[in-house]
C-alpha cells in the first residue's frame, strides 16, 4: 500500500537520500578509476573541517554559494529559472571594480567600500532585470536569455579586462589592485584583534552579509506582501492580475532581487580576497547556486545547509588535489552534476519507493490524508 509522504520525510529525508545517491555514484566512479572512495571521502572531510584554517575556507566558499543559491531560490519562487547567476555575479564584480577604481584615489577606503557594496547588488540586479524585462514584456524565455546573458557578460569582462580596465604594464586580463584598505576585513584578522586565536583563511565580512541575506530572503518570501505576490506570480499570473497587481512588474522586481543577490557574491571574491577585478572570478559558482537551491528546496535554511555542504566539497576537493595523483578537484564538479541530477531532475525518482516503504511501516492511511480533488471540468 502506497501512502503519500508526510512533510518531514519530503523535506528532511528525501534530500538526504538524493545526496546519498549522488555520492554513491561518485564513489563508484572513483572506485573504477582505481582509488578508494572511502579514503577520498575522509581526505575531503579532513580537508574541509579538520586541518588548520580548513573551516574558514569551507565557510568562505559557502559564502559564495549562499548568495548564488539565494539568487536562484528567489527567482524560483516566482517560477523563474535564473541560470544567469554566473553572469550577474561577474557584472556585480564589475560594479565593485568601477566604483573602487574610479573613487579610490579620491575618497577614504571605508567610504569606497560602502559605495562599492551596494554597487555589486545594483549591477547584478540590472543584469538580472533585463532578462526579467525581456520575459515579462517581450515574451522571451528566461532560461535561454539568462544563458545568453552569461556569455555576453563573460565577453564584456574579457573585453574590458583585456582592454580599458587592464592594469598598465600587465599581461593578464585583470585590473590594478584597489588602493590600500579598499577590501573587507577578514574574519581571522578580527578574531585575532580581539584576542581569539584563529588560523588564516580568506573568510571575510561577506559571510555576515550572506547570513543577513538568508534572514532577509526568508522575511521577504514568507512575511511580506511583496513575497506573497512573488509566490502568487509563480503559481498563477492570471490570479495576480485579477488581484490587481502587474505580474510584469513583479517578474522584473524578482529578477532584480535575484540578480542583486548573485551580484553580492562578488563581495566575497573581489572585495574580500582579490581586491582587484580578475577574469573568471566566478568560477562556476553561479551554476553551483542552482544545485544549492535545488538541494535546499529554495528555503533559506536549506540553502544554508546546502551551501555548507558545497563549501566543504570545494575545500575538500582542493585537498584531494594535494593527496591524490589520479583524482582532482574536478571530481567535485562531477559530484555537483550528480547532485543536480538526483535532487533536481530525478527528484521524484525515489518517491514511489519511499511511499511504499512508508506505507508498509506506517500502515494504511484513512484519516490524515485529505481526499483527492476531483477535476472540476468533467465528471
Amino acid at each position: 500500500m502506497r501512502r503519500p509522504l508526510p512533510k518531514w520525510i519530503d523535506i528532511g529525508v528525501m534530500p538526504i537520500i538524493n545526496i546519498f545517491a549522488a555520492f554513491v555514484v561518485a564513489g563508484i566512479i572513483i572506485a573504477l578509476i582505481g582509488e578508494n572512495p572511502i579514503t577520498a571521502l575522509s581526505v575531503m572531510v579532513k580537508g574541509a573541517f579538520v586541518y588548520k584554517g580548513a573551516l574558514g575556507y569551507t565557510l568562505f566558499y559557502a559564502t559564495n554559494f549562499i548568495f548564488t543559491g539565494l539568487a536562484v531560490a528567489v527567482a524560483f519562487h516566482a517560477t523563474l529559472f535564473n541560470i544567469g547567476g554566473e553572469g550577474q555575479a561577474m557584472i556585480g564584480g564589475l560594479g565593485i571594480g568601477i566604483v573602487a577604481l574610479s573613487l579610490d584615489p579620491l575618497l577614504p577606503p571605508l567610504l569606497v567600500i560602502l559605495l562599492a557594496i551596494p554597487m555589486a547588488a545594483v549591477f547584478g540586479a540590472i543584469w538580472g532585470m533585463i532578462p526579467g524585462w525581456l520575459q515579462a514584456k517581450r515574451g522571451s524565455h528566461i532560461v535561454i536569455t539568462t544563458i545568453m546573458f552569461n556569455f555576453i557578460a563573460s565577453s564584456i569582462m574579457v573585453w574590458l579586462l583585456a582592454g580599458m580596465l587592464m592594469a598598465p604594464g600587465q599581461m593578464s586580463p585583470e585590473t590594478r589592485h584597489f588602493a590600500e584598505g579598499v577590501g573587507l576585513l577578514q574574519i581571522h584578522q578580527i578574531a585575532n584583534a580581539i584576542g581569539i586565536p584563529m588560523a588564516r583563511s580568506p573568510l571575510n565580512l561577506s559571510f555576515l552579509v550572506a547570513l543577513a541575506a538568508l534572514v532577509g530572503v526568508w522575511v521577504l518570501i514568507w512575511r511580506t506582501r511583496l513575497g506573497y505576490i512573488i509566490r502568487a506570480t509563480g503559481h498563477s499570473e492570471k490570479a495576480v492580475i485579477y488581484a490587481g497587481h502587474d505580474p510584469a512588474k513583479i517578474i522584473m522586481i524578482t529578477m532584480a532581487i535575484s540578480g542583486g543577490l548573485a551580484g553580492l557574491m562578488a563581495l566575497n571574491e573581489i572585495l574580500g580576497v582579490q581586491e582587484r577585478v580578475i577574469l573568471n572570478f566566478t568560477s562556476g559558482y553561479g551554476f553551483t547556486g542552482i544545485a544549492v537551491a535545488l538541494m535546499g528546496r529554495n528555503h533559506p535554511f536549506g540553502i544554508l545547509l546546502a551551501s555548507l555542504l558545497f563549501g566543504a566539497l570545494y575545500q575538500g576537493g582542493a585537498e584531494i588535489d594535494f593527496e591524490f595523483q589520479t583524482i582532482t578537484r574536478e571530481m567535485v564538479l562531477m559530484i555537483q552534476g550528480l547532485i543536480i541530477l538526483f535532487s533536481g531532475a530525478l527528484a521524484l525518482m525515489f518517491h514511489p519507493l519511499m511511499e511504499r516503504l512508508y506505507g508498509m511501516i506506517a500502515g494504511p492511511d484513512s484519516i490524515t490524508s485529505p481526499p483527492k480533488t476531483k477535476r472540476a471540468e468533467h465528471g
Binding site: 551554476f287 555537483q336 541530477l341 477535476r375
Partner: protein, 324 residues
Amino acid sequence: MADIWLQFLLTIDATLRVSTPLILCAMAGIFSERSGIIDISLEGKMLLSAFAAASVAALSGSPWLGLGAAILVSMIFSLLHGFACITHRGNQVISGLAINILASGLTVTLGIALFAQGGQTPYLSSAQRFSAIPLPFADTMRQVPIIGTIYAEIISGHNLLVWLALLSVFVTSIVLYRTRFGLRLRATGEKPEAVDTAGISVTRIRYQAVLIAGLLCGIAGAYLSIAHGAGFVREMTAGKGYIALAAMIFGHWRPVPALMACLMFGFLEALAARLQGVDILFLGPIPTDLILVLPYVLTVVLLAGFIGRATPPKAIGQPYVKER
C-alpha cells in the same frame, strides 16, 4: 585582388569547418525540442562524446571506433536525459544542466585517470583521425579562376564528418516533413494529448527523439576531437552547444533555416579568427571578442521579438501526464 579573393575563400572554408558541430547539434536540438523535450545538454553530450572519441581513437588507433564510442556515450546520456525528463517527469532544463556540469567534471576526471595529461588525451596521429578528403582534380582546378578556386578551397578537402553534417540537414528535413515518424514527432511537441489519444505512445516518440539527438551530438563531439582537432582538450566545446541551441531557435526549429543560422554564426567565428590582431585605422585592434558574442546578442534580440518572432513548439518543457 586575388589575395582578397583567396582570403575570402579561406574564411568561407573555415566557416564550414566551424559550423559543422553547430549544424549537427542544431539538428539534434530540432529532433529533441520538436518532440517537446528541451535540450540544453547538447553542450555536455558533445563534450562527453568528444572525450570518448579521442580516448577510444587514442587507445585503439581507429577513428571509426572513436566515432562509435562517441555516438554510444552521447546516446547513453540522452537516455539519462530521457529517463529524468520523460520517465520521471523531471525538469528538462535542470536535467540538461546536470548533464553539462557532470560532463565538465567527468571528462577531466576520467581524462586524468586514463592518460595523466591534465585532462587531455594524447595527440592523435592522422591515422587515428578522420582526415580531409581531397576531391578529384582539386589541384588542377585551382588554376581555373573563380569556379576552380571555389572548388579547390571550399568544396574539396573536407573530412567525412563535414559532409555528414550537411547530409544530416537533408535527412532531418525529409524525416520531419515527409514521414509518418516526423508527423508524430511534430504532433508530440505541439499537443501530446492528441498523439496519446490517437493510440501512439508519447513516451516512445520522445525517447526516439532524444536518442536521435544523442546520435547527432555524438557525431558532433567526434568531429571536434578526432576530425577537426587532434585530441581532446578540457572544455573544448566552449559553448558551441549553446550556440547551436541559439542557431536552432534562430532557425525557428526548422532544419534549413537552422542550417543558415549555423553558417552565419560559424562565419562570425571564422571572421573573428581571421581578424584577430588586425588593426582598423585609428581605432586600434578590432574587438574580436565582441564579434564572438554576436550570436548570443542576436539570439536575445530575436527572442525578444525585435526581428520576427520565434515561437517554440507549444508543449515544450512540459512533462506529459495523463489527466488526473
